[in-house]
Symmetry: C2
Subunit: 404 residues, 2 copies
DNA sequence: ATTTTTTACTCAACTAACTTGAATTAAATA
DNA sequence: TATTTAATTCAAGTTAGTTGAGTAAAAAAT
């Protein structure tokens, strides 16, 4: 397998199709079907994908030759010749994800099925591009080495950084924002340093993609992910694809106003959701309530100790979150809203427990396949895993129409 | 030209590509390019669409043969052989749009360039499916007859009805809601009656598509449209395609809460945006202020007379709208937010004038191609025109991946 | 004024990838 | 044991895009 087989053509605007692009699209269509329905036989895939059995057969031969798919016995119990079943070959390829924060980097390796095969965290003294790019390069090299994988099976690297990217009115400075990255082409820098395809994405979108690849949303084509980072982000998957907006800054849910004339926010507004329902908001609330967080206490430990201030924060945050979730439901009509990110599971569960979702919502329908709100499944490595998931997602998920 | 050339394949999930589907995709790619850049020559199209000149040449020959494209002389002033320029042939095809309201139907015919070639409004005594479907059928037949068009050039019909569709917590009854349509397959009913392809869509989405086809947003791939109907709707175009959510109910912006514990809304919540910033909201406000609307006064006439209550309503509505627009900007990161629909232009302009948009928004960036908020361009026929625009949009805009 | 360069476009041969139909295999059912 | 059903393969056929040579026409250079 050469990595060029996965090269995504890039360009401005929508491009036409030809034999080669059809093949590349069909490879992804087959892979996407197998991801969602494995194990599956050739005839079954052909029927579902609108292709002839012969076409699917040829594609599967190739994919198997490349080590991406493998057989898992025959399907029994049905009439007719039993179908040879295929599934992902977990070791056929892998992807790297890196989360860059102002103070640290987290690196995770995922195999083709989205399972974590390695992860490592490293402090970052200087998060400027000049220092961070080489540091990330070194970290990845060490991670691949330690994982025992062959670099030729590397599909690419997904870099997760806090947005918003480019020029925007939210470029205030705060703990969550990286400085020095404003005027460089981040993707190009990393592609040069890493010599592999690179995707740059924000944490919330990466987390959403990760949930779809191998998490809570593996069967959904349309859902939203509320990401608890330092601030708060929203990742949106619609029609199986992440939605990034005109300039890649969609999903800035943290600065939605949920209380008119509420708490002041560094962004200049008052009453932003983020000032209530985020880790940052929690710390500010607890500090104001006189809780000393320096002695090793965490949000999770405070919650487990049923600390009154923590319970009070949960209550208030849940109220603001409920409002925001209602909004998201009415605007995006998702199959579900997933809560996750850099927040302990117990805290998220407590928040979900306390939610009081609006009745007047398109989501408040009797027949639902999933609850209105669910918890994410990838825990604290979510962002780094999400980065790698983006790469695998791009390898698998079909898109003929390419946008800028 | 046979209408089967435009038949969209439908199915569940993503389908593979083959020669025929490639051709169909490439036809759309060429048409979409010409729409956005007309007039254009073959070589120029080929370069931009990632196809060979020969492929584009063959497609253009076909499109010209079908009457969809026509030549408009040669491009002069450049070196080399002057390129033959192509543009849409306005009369090559047309589409019908129908807006169905509880008390009336509006029908509009658009030519291929999105220009209105005919429109007619008719009262509807009984908006039940049994009565309305035949009434619409008759109206369309009369409209086609009166426009002098040949039915064989009809691309299809777009029916615009107030959502939300299907089961949802917003199925309260109110003036804007049609009853009796809950448990029938609306698309099938109309396709049977009209014997042409049919799209069912809500007013906001249809209006958004219309703005992109031949309006304020003709060069945008990502924008939002806030539609003033009886209530309030949001149409979202992202990546050139309308976003409808998991069940087609995305964009219910009317029931976003912009004032905690505010005015009661029929949906069960308090403080919904719709109770302030919608026609319904305006009438309620004015009635409460003692303004008698029965004597032929309209929102526009009150505004022109600088009626204090009207000015007060504008002020309040603009405040709530500003909040909602800020939200929409932060969540979708659109190129612009367009305001339009069944509200007089002067009123919309007054609202825009009074907006106080949040500073903390990803949209508040110095370098913008468009203002943060703009007014829509299709006026009171917006919804019906939008229906027809949906059909033309589908004919033109490429999508290989087909979703359910 | 003539030649060169540049660009658009057409014709004909070529190729990649999907489709079709016949043949083969293997399990369940009659 | 024969029949039916379904999966898969083989080989030929089809569609549509690509490639390369050749023509046409305008601008720029000589």
């Amino acid at each position: 397998m050469t990595s060029s087989e996965f090269m995504t053509e890039e360009g401005t605007g929508i491009i036409g199709s030809n034999a080669g692009r059809s093949r590349s699209h069909n490879r992804r269509v087959v892979l996407e079907f197998v991801r969602a329905h494995e194990p599956a036989g050739r005839a079954e895939i052909a029927r579902s994908c609108g292709l002839s059995i012969q076409a699917v057969s040829n594609i599967i031969d190739t994919l198997q030759g490349e080590g991406l798919l493998r057989t898992v016995g025959h399907r029994a119990g049905m009439r007719g010749k039993p179908a040879l079943q295929y599934q992902f070959n977990p070791d056929g390829a892998f992807a790297v994800g890196v989360e860059i924060r102002p103070d640290a980097m987290v690196c995770a390796l995922l195999n083709l099925t989205g399972k974590r095969i390695f992860s490592r965290r490293k402090k970052l003294k200087d998060a400027s591009p000049e220092k961070a790019v080489p540091a990330v390069t070194k970290l990845i090299a060490a991670a691949i080495e330690a994982s025992g994988r062959d670099r030729k099976n590397l599909l690419g690297t997904g870099i997760v950084m806090p947005g918003p990217f480019g020029e925007s009115g939210l470029s205030y400075s705060g703990a969550a924002v990286l400085s020095g990255w404003e005027n460089i082409n981040i993707k190009e820098e990393f592609e040069k340093a890493l010599a592999c395809p690179v995707i740059i994405e924000n944490d919330a979108t990466a987390a959403a993609v990760s949930e779809r690849l191998a998490g809570t949303a593996s069967e959904m084509n349309s859902f939203c992910f509320i990401y608890f980072g330092t601030g708060l982000g929203l990742g949106v998957i619609a029609g199986g694809h992440s939605q990034r907006g005109a300039l890649g800054n969609a999903g800035e849910i943290g600065h939605i106003i949920t209380e008119a004339n509420g708490l002041p926010c560094p962004c200049g507004n008052f009453g932003c959701l983020e000032t209530y329902a985020s880790r940052m908001g929690a710390f500010a609330f607890l500090e104001k309530a006189g809780v000393n967080m320096d002695e090793g206490a965490t949000l999770a430990s405070l919650l487990e100790a049923q600390h009154p201030a923590m319970l009070e924060w949960i209550e208030g945050a849940a109220q603001h979150l409920s409002q925001a979730i209602g909004m998201v439901e009415n605007l995006f009509d998702p199959e579900t809203v997933i809560l996750g990110g850099a927040m302990a599971d117990v805290v998220i569960d407590a928040l979900i427990e306390k939610l009081d979702l609006p009745k007047g919502s398109v989501a408040n329908r009797p027949a639902r396949n999933f609850p209105r709100v669910m918890r994410g499944s990838s825990g604290r490595l979510t962002a780094a895993i999400g980065g790698a998931a983006m790469i695998i997602h791009r390898t698998i998920t079909p898109t003929v129409t390419v946008f800028h």
